[in-house]
């Protein structure tokens, strides 16, 4: 058993120092609740609607002292943190990134692959896209990181599934749209539908941390959740409002689900790969 904390925070737009303090505060609260994993939202260290502020708030997670303070605060637990990355190997490129930190150590940085750029979204105007999905070992199991829109592309989830992920963690700054859906924005249902389906057919945990608050008139929808393998809703945070939810999860449930539903045993990534290779190489085929 492990406790997962969903940190549905309201970051301050463009103020890294204030958001580092907020993260440290939440990590401390999570530690008191004996959380093994704390998941913060997309761009939690910076706020979402950054536009030209992107380069002012970018940091190198290996060197930046502010980021190292957060890493140091993960002794004995793990956290997923959203930030803007500029690394020495890609100077002048800015990535919408998620870091998995465990026990004080930076385990992995995922760079958002799918940057929404339509309607009110302008991400590809300001960010460079990530180029891969990599599933990594955390102290509690194999983890695949996704950022917001990545999650809505089912191929991204599939890669983590094929790589043996026990848990898919999606951090998000999803704005709410549509007011015909009861006590939540209509769009919240879209995320829950994906969470339910992915946890069911990947026989893995799906952890989704969204943010709350509003920026430039746009409200973030909240509604962070944890689905257990088999499409079982374990916990859900408040819609729209900030929240902090700690929920126990049984990591043995992955094994149970995979014995019951044999999707993973019978999966044939090589058939998918050959088919994709043909499609990518000869799109006219």
């Amino acid at each position: 058993m492990m406790n997962i904390a969903l940190a549905q925070i309201v970051p301050k737009l463009g103020d890294v120092e204030a958001n580092v303090a907020l993260h440290l505060e939440v990590l401390e609260k999570a530690r008191k609740k004996r959380a093994g994993l704390v998941v913060f939202p997309e761009l939690g260290l910076t706020g979402y609607t950054l536009k030209d502020l992107v380069e002012d708030v970018a940091l190198d997670p290996v060197k930046d002292p502010r980021f190292r303070r957060i890493a140091a605060a993960t002794k004995g637990l793990a956290a997923v943190v959203g930030f803007v990355e500029e690394s020495p190997s890609d100077r002048g490129l800015f990535f919408n990134a998620a870091a998995l930190i465990a026990d004080g150590r930076l385990v992995h940085v995922h760079r958002k692959v799918y940057l929404p750029t339509n309607g009110l979204f302008e991400e590809a105007k300001f960010f460079a896209p990530g180029r891969e999905f990599r599933t990594v070992e955390a102290p509690f199991g194999r983890v695949g990181l996704l950022i917001c829109r990545d999650f809505l592309h089912y191929g991204a989830n599939y890669v983590h599934y094929a790589a043996g992920a026990d848990m898919i963690v999606c951090i998000s700054a999803a704005p709410g749209r549509g007011i015909e859906g009861g006590d939540a924005f209509t769009t919240s249902r879209m995320w829950e539908l994906m969470g339910e389906a992915m946890s069911y057919f990947s026989t893995a945990y799906v952890v989704y941390a969204n943010r709350a608050g509003a920026e430039d008139g746009v409200s973030f929808a909240g509604g962070s959740f944890v689905y257990a393998p088999g499409g079982k809703l374990v916990a859900r945070a408040a819609y729209v409002d900030p929240d902090f939810v700690v929920t126990p999860v049984d990591l043995g449930a992955v094994r149970e689900a995979r014995r019951t539903w044999l999707f993973k045993r019978d999966e044939k990534p090589e058939a998918i790969w050959r088919s994709l290779e043909r499609i990518v190489r000869a799109p006219e085929d």
Binding site: R177, G178, I179, A214, D216
Partner: protein, 272 residues
């Protein structure tokens, strides 16, 4: 000093912009407030060249009798450009409003004056069937040195991407009188006011800092390293940050999948 602009090329672009933007709306006439200062003089000269002098109406809008020099310079420039000109003292409406509130601060009175000028311009634009031209330059817009819904209000703004010191270069090219080019910039919201006195820095220095930040994409640290006083850099960049709201339409609370200002996105010149 900012790099020199090609003033003849800028004149061609901006006269084209005025003619084209108004023309798309079936309009050939423009109005503007003429203060006797540099920005409105440049704008008036551009409009006269773009539309023909008789299609430009300049309104000189002093508040009271404390601005005789400005009024004389403005009327003189209008005669020189051959544009139509009227002078209206707006002090009766300002005084009537503040008669009930004599303790109003200078800033409140100044903003009221700027908004009264806007109200007169918009009223006359309906009668005239002309567009109100904005005269806020890039330096003012970035500093937020203007009154929301006052001097910042307009139908189109040909000046908004020229720093103050670039407007000076354009003024020289347009052969505007030296009296106008050399006078200390003022919003004329109260007698004796000057921009540089109120802001606390010269436009030369302000423009260098803004240019380094926005054209050069330099950080605060790099601008200080290039020789500007930290206090000056902080003053300028602090004003830019504090005035961000002045450069936006008011935020609309987003509720639906497609909202005005967020994701119903049509071009300004739609169908024009």
């Amino acid at each position: 000093m900012l790099p020199k602009i090609n003033a003849a090329f800028v004149e061609k672009l901006l006269t084209g912009f005025i003619r084209d933007e108004l023309g798309r709306h079936g309009c050939r006439k423009a109005l503007l407030g003429l203060s006797g200062g540099l920005d409105s003089a440049v704008c008036a000269a551009l409009a006269a060249r773009a539309l023909g002098p008789r299609n430009v109406l300049a309104l000189v809008l002093p508040c009271g009798t404390g601005f005789r020099g400005e009024v004389r310079d403005a009327e003189g420039l209008a005669r020189r450009l051959g544009i139509r000109c009227e002078t209206i003292d707006i002090s009766p409406q300002i005084e009537a409003y503040f008669a009930a509130d004599p303790k109003a601060t200078r800033l409140r009175r100044g903003n009221k004056v700027a908004r009264e000028r806007m109200a007169v311009l918009y009223d006359r634009s309906a009668e005239e069937g002309g567009f109100v031209l904005g005269t806020s330059n890039k330096t003012e817009l970035l500093l937020g040195y203007g009154t929301v819904y006052g001097d910042m209000a307009c139908a189109v703004n040909p000046m908004g991407d020229l720093y103050k010191t670039q407007v000076r270069q354009l003024a020289e090219h347009l052969r505007l009188p030296a009296a106008i080019r050399r006078k200390a910039p003022t919003a004329a919201l109260w007698p004796g006011q000057t921009d540089e006195g109120e802001i606390g820095l010269s436009y030369d220095e302000i423009d260098e800092i803004l240019y380094a930040r926005f054209e050069g994409r330099k950080s605060r640290k790099e601008i200080v390293a290039a020789g500007h006083k930290p206090a000056a850099v902080d003053l300028v960049l602090g004003r830019v940050k504090a005035s961000e709201f002045k450069r936006h339409l008011p935020p609309i609370a987003k509720l639906s999948p497609r909202s005005v200002g967020h994701d119903i996105l049509h071009p300004y010149d739609w169908g024009r």
